[in-house]
Subunit: 220 residues, 2 copies
């Protein structure tokens, strides 16, 4: 890799962080708490968002920015069907959202009417960790079928988290998943990380997660 | 993005493809059939490799190149414990292996003693699709808990496949997964794609998959 490419990439990163700061200011001025929700494909990002909407309505209004690598609206359609505004951003093949993409998304949401804004980032455990968006909290959904070694294999994303959601605990009886080993790995990377064990299918654990969200929304 | 960066990236891609061709020649000269195994985190790449080793030994000798974004040897250690040579490649945070990385990996394997070489690519559905390695077949493992909408959301990786493995079918009774909807999505992207439904946990479906491999190894 040539030196010139490195320099250009650094400049792109700087620009991203500047736009991230503008995004944050925009959320703060509108009194909206913003979350960057990350996960592997199929860990349950959309179903967690839908369950969260269900638990928090009608008193908390939620807007969603959906990031996908392809021009599909599967996830945004589900959020719209749940009665909340949603915007779909197509990254054009890129493996993450960046701050300018979120800026575009925010422009299409009725920010002044919202209490909470959730970004559903592109599904993977690598690229999203490297790009600030300007949200207030980085939240990762890990899921039981993914296996208990993921903190050891994808340490970067765990280091930058504010909240961890462990989803699909309803599948624990059918899968070899050592919760102790998993949580030890997380603790080594991010000591004291706020963690919720949930099932978006059965609703277990969502009381605690949405209570945490209510506390944050009140302050925003 | 500036024009100069685009040009540099194109040049990097060209160099990658050239090294991929050299990798292919090296495999062909040694009579080794090479597979590029891709999947989401936790779809079961390593357990599928281990089950495949178990089914094909002692008559077929398999070498494995493990790609990870972090300096961990969890997967390579498992392959070594199964009695086969394994090399761990740390991508240093990159979300995919590239041809020069595989070139390094091949140099550390006893190619002339092998029949089959499996690359376990970095776990995600986006970046690995864009980089040729020089292997003979692109194989994706999809898994039931990931959900049935993945072909619609990650079309690029499905388009470039030679074989699809649908893993964790033992979890079908516990998960809402519409096999018809999933397979329709695949068919639209990659008509007639060779597909195996398996469970690396119970061994179901591995007879058909390893028989396909035996046919390929014989010709290599």
């Amino acid at each position: 890799m040539s030196a010139s490419r490195v320099t250009i990439v650094e400049r792109i990163m700087d620009a991203n962080d500047q736009v991230a700061e503008l995004n944050r200011r925009r959320l703060d001025e509108a009194g909206v708490f913003g979350i960057n929700l990350m996960a592997s494909p199929g860990a349950g990002k959309t179903s967690t968002i839908l369950k969260t909407i269900q638990m928090l309505q009608p008193d908390i209004k939620i807007g969603v920015v959906e990031g996908d690598t392809a021009p599909v609206t599967i996830d945004a359609d589900k959020v719209l069907a749940a009665g909340m505004p949603a915007v779909q951003i197509n990254t054009g093949g890129d493996c993450h959202l960046d701050a300018p993409m979120l800026d575009q998304g925010l422009s299409q949401l009725p920010l002044n009417e919202l209490d909470l804004m959730i970004v559903e980032n592109v599904g993977n455990l690598i690229c999203p960790a490297a790009f600030k968006l300007g949200t207030h909290a980085n939240v990762l959904i890990a899921s039981i079928p993914e296996g208990d070694d993921k903190p050891y294999k994808y340490p970067n994303i765990y280091r930058g988290l504010d909240v961890l959601i462990i989803n699909k605990i309803d599948l624990l009886p059918y899968i070899d998943f050592r919760m102790d080993y998993f949580r030890q790995g997380v603790e080594a990377l991010n000591p004291g990380l706020i963690t919720f064990e949930v099932s978006a299918k059965t609703g277990e654990g969502f009381e605690a997660w949405t209570q945490w969200l209510r506390g944050k929304v009140k302050k925003a």
